[in-house]
Amino acid sequence: MIIVIVAVGIIGSMAATMLFQGADIFVKETNRQGFVSEARSAFWRLMRETQGQSSSADFILSDQNSLYVKNGKGDLKDFQTSSPDQFNFRLGTGSYNSLSNSLGYSQSNGFTFYNNNFNVVSPSSGGLNVAQAKTVHLSKLDLTFINDMDTLSLTSFVYPHNFRFGSKMSYHD
């Protein structure tokens, strides 16, 4: 009788431990998968919208924490990073929508702009002015996403498609 109880206890506790570990791994992996998916889709949206920038002048007001783009249809869109962990998107002048609340604000370099000599264009106070924005040739997006102990850094240069065709002419309006 005692042998049975001891044997059941040992094997039962082993089974319970395995079940606990399995459940723990499952929960952590599900959370991790959600975090990676969120970071990936947020960064992809940022890259895609930046690719659609129609004119370099539309980078006006952009700085390290803000990126303004206007597509070929004239839709204004902007992305904002803010402390401690927000990465937001806004269409037009409406309210901001959260793309991610896992942003590592202090670990992210945000948005950087380069002229056609590939030197950094430093935004003046209040963001890029018209003259500065017109010189932007290439942009760099650098965001780090953090969730508990997990970190995902995504960095990409973006050269908008339209820049290769030159500026929009009056007859395009």
């Binding site: 094997i11 395995m18 079940l19 570990q21 399995g22 791994i25 499952f26 991790r32 990676v36």
Partner: protein
């Protein structure tokens, strides 16, 4: 009465141990499945980083002009020109020819290599041409220490 007592004696030690061992084995299979899922998830994350690096490199290349010369004849030799010691000195696409990074600074497990060749429409853009043409084929490869490489090829002409 005797039969009832015989049926009510319960499980034997062997029966209980066998059932618990089977239960434990099924948990091990469950853990193995979770571990496989974890590996797939990790690879997915690495592929995301790999594709972002590839996209970044391609955008840097596309931001350059077609050639050092503003019009044909285009450069006969592909590769960096004199004085172009850093990537921010590169001013045309073929400066990236044989450009290589063993360890990307933000992600040391990844490496990049680029190869540029002239191609022609008549050969379907597949065959490298020894003479200058109006099309350059740029192959960007992003390698990883454990994953397979990710490769993409762009065809760029002076007008695009």
């Amino acid at each position: 009465m005797k039969n009832i007592q015989g049926n009510a004696k319960g499980f034997t030690l062997i029966e209980i141990m066998v059932s618990l061992i089977l239960l434990t084995l099924s948990f091990m299979v469950f853990l193995q499945a979770l571990n496989t899922g974890k590996t797939v998830r990790a690879n997915s994350e690495l592929r995301t980083v790999q594709s972002v690096i590839l996209n970044s490199m391609e955008n840097q290349i596309r931001a350059r002009g077609y050639d050092e010369n503003n019009a044909a004849p285009w450069s006969s030799s592909l590769g960096k020109d004199s004085g172009e010691t850093a990537i921010n000195h590169f001013d045309d696409i073929d400066d990236f020819h044989q450009y290589a990074i063993n360890e990307v600074s933000e992600h040391p497990a990844f490496g990049i290599s680029v190869a540029v060749t002239y191609v022609s429409a008549s050969s379907g853009f597949h065959t490298p041409q020894s003479n200058q043409t109006d099309y350059k084929s740029i192959m960007v490869k992003v390698t990883h220490k454990t994953l397979s490489a990710m490769t993409d090829t762009m065809i760029i002409s002076p007008g695009l």
